[in-house]
């Protein structure tokens, strides 16, 4: 599913976000990326959906070699990856329904199918009754549900999440984790960067610890211990 070999990311200003990362993530895994702030978690996440390019090394996602991909292939590559963020990134002037439908319309699905699939997906994330609400009429947890719905409506084989519970209170965070857990059980690979120690401890999934741009630990079913 994902294979990184000796990956480094150096920004034009000289900052070394990733120094030497090699890792392999298999299909169907649920993986936490943890580590102190500025360790390079977000950078690694952005490499996965080709928001950024590695400066060195090799990144292969879903069988695509990211560094050799042509510009016009990127949209097709992205259709098989769902992304969610700490700040949800919903469009404020579109309703919950429109925000989710957007992901289908953008790739040319017929209006009838868009309606059908969007309604079904909103029900799945527990927002069937709020499809006409605008983002600012929804709670943080509900907004994150909308963004999860948007991320998985194309049935991506990979879902990447950058601190998806960072803006949510503990209870709401667990609701989102339950949602992600179920999505993972249906076969979607999930890579999630997080700071939430309690979540990582309780979920008992693979944990990759990153510090100063390197993988310092990689354990299955591990609890985390890292400097703060």
């Amino acid at each position: 599913m994902i294979q990184m070999t000796n990956v480094a990311k150096i920004y034009p200003n000289g900052a070394r976000a990733l120094v030497d990362i090699s890792l392999k993530i298999n299909k169907g895994e649920f993986v936490f990326l943890v580590g102190p702030s500025g360790a390079g978690k977000s950078t690694l996440i952005r490499l996965l959906y080709r928001e950024e390019m590695a400066s060195r090394g090799q990144v292969i996602v879903n069988g695509w070699n990211i560094l050799r991909m042509r510009e016009r292939e990127v949209p097709h590559f992205r259709r098989n990856i769902g992304v969610i963020f700490q700040d949800f990134k919903l469009l404020a002037n579109k309703t919950a329904f429109e925000n989710v439908a957007f992901a289908l319309e953008a790739i040319g699905v017929s209006p009838k199918e868009v309606r059908l699939r969007t309604k079904k997906m909103l029900k799945l994330v527990g927002l069937g009754h709020k499809e006409n609400a605008f983002p600012d009429e929804l709670s943080g947890g509900e907004q994150q549900r909308v963004s999860v719905a948007r991320a998985i409506i194309n049935n991506p084989s990979l879902l990447v999440a950058d601190e998806p519970t960072g803006n949510l209170d503990a209870d709401t965070a667990w609701e989102i984790m339950e949602l992600l857990y179920n999505i993972n059980r249906r076969g979607t690979t999930i890579v999630m960067a997080t700071h939430a120690r309690d979540i990582v401890e309780q979920m008992q999934k693979r944990v990759i610890v990153i510090e100063d741009g390197r993988v310092v630990r990689d354990e299955n079913m591990g609890a985390i211990e890292y400097g703060t």
Binding site: E51, P75, R78, E105, G108, N154
Partner: protein
């Protein structure tokens, strides 16, 4: 792009124009103002050029014949004048016409004092095709037999040509300056529009929309905004110019004003097209920065 996408794009253009109504209005106004400026300066240029041409066409060579020529010899001279290179047209002024004109312009009594004598010779007015040719043609005419004297505005031509050229340059300069001003105005506005929607673009890219799919709504929106702005500008410039031309013609009657409706319509149509073109092109150029992955 498939049918589904096309449908989506059209719907999106409509709803985006409505939901961002103030930004849409600002964009329309910007293009309108830019096109009004451009239109006004275009008409300024047209009139400057027209004025220059008018002055130049006033340049004429007066050819006075020798007094003892018969009518036949005078008309033979006329034929030869017509045959010269660079001559556009000639006009015969007989000695009688010259006298009558003199009497009209000065005084009847002066003519009566002449006691029936007519001191004026027959003469030709010669118009050349290019103002620069006046001097050469005049010299050639001077050497023809039967020609007594050739008079043309020798001292006037140089400064006049300088002035008319200057007039044209000023006209073009005004157009150029305001064209640049318009482009700056519009590109600022487009940048604002695109900036206000950068999140939308970011998300479109995230969910795998192709670049052309992202581009189309902006392109069409730019064209619609440009079209509306251009039409308003056309209305303003058209009516404004109509009023201006009438005002000038009634107060400064000696100043020629461009008033061929054909030409005016062409300029106005050009404004609409430029408005639309700038709207579309501006969107594409501003988007390029955001579409880079």
């Amino acid at each position: 792009m498939g049918l589904n996408s096309a449908r989506y794009v059209l719907r999106e253009v409509g709803s985006s124009l409505r939901r961002n109504i103030w930004l849409s209005i600002a964009s329309v106004l910007t293009i309108m103002i830019a096109m009004v400026i451009l239109g006004a300066s275009l008409f300024f240029f047209l009139n400057a050029a027209n004025l220059a041409e008018n002055f130049e066409s006033e340049l004429e060579i007066n050819v006075f014949t020798q007094e003892d020529l018969s009518n036949m010899e005078v008309s033979a001279l006329g034929e030869r004048l017509k045959g010269l290179d660079g001559v556009q047209s000639i006009e015969l002024i007989t000695k009688e016409q010259a006298l009558a004109k003199f009497a009209q312009e000065y005084s009847e009594s002066l003519v009566e004092d002449l006691g029936g004598e007519n001191p004026f010779p027959d003469s030709y007015k010669v118009f050349v095709t290019e103002p620069e040719l006046v001097e050469g043609v005049a010299k050639k005419i001077d050497s023809l037999t039967g020609v007594d004297n050739v008079v043309y505005g020798k001292e006037v031509i140089g400064p006049l040509l300088q002035f008319t050229n200057w007039l044209r340059w000023v006209g073009m300069g005004v157009v150029a300056i305001f064209a640049v001003a318009s482009i700056v105005l519009i590109s600022l506005n487009i940048r604002m529009t695109v900036y206000s929607r950068r999140k939308e673009i970011e998300i479109m890219k995230l969910v795998g929309a192709s670049n052309s799919f992202i581009r189309w709504p902006f392109l069409l929106e730019g064209m619609v905004v440009g079209l509306v702005g251009g039409l308003f500008a056309t209305l303003i410039v058209g009516m404004g110019y109509d009023w201006f031309a009438q005002y000038i013609q009634s107060t400064l009657t000696f100043v020629p004003v461009v008033s061929e409706s054909n030409l005016i319509w062409k300029v106005l149509a050009l404004l609409v097209l430029i408005g639309m073109g700038i709207g579309a092109l501006g969107s594409i150029i501003s988007l390029r920065r955001f579409l880079k992955v």
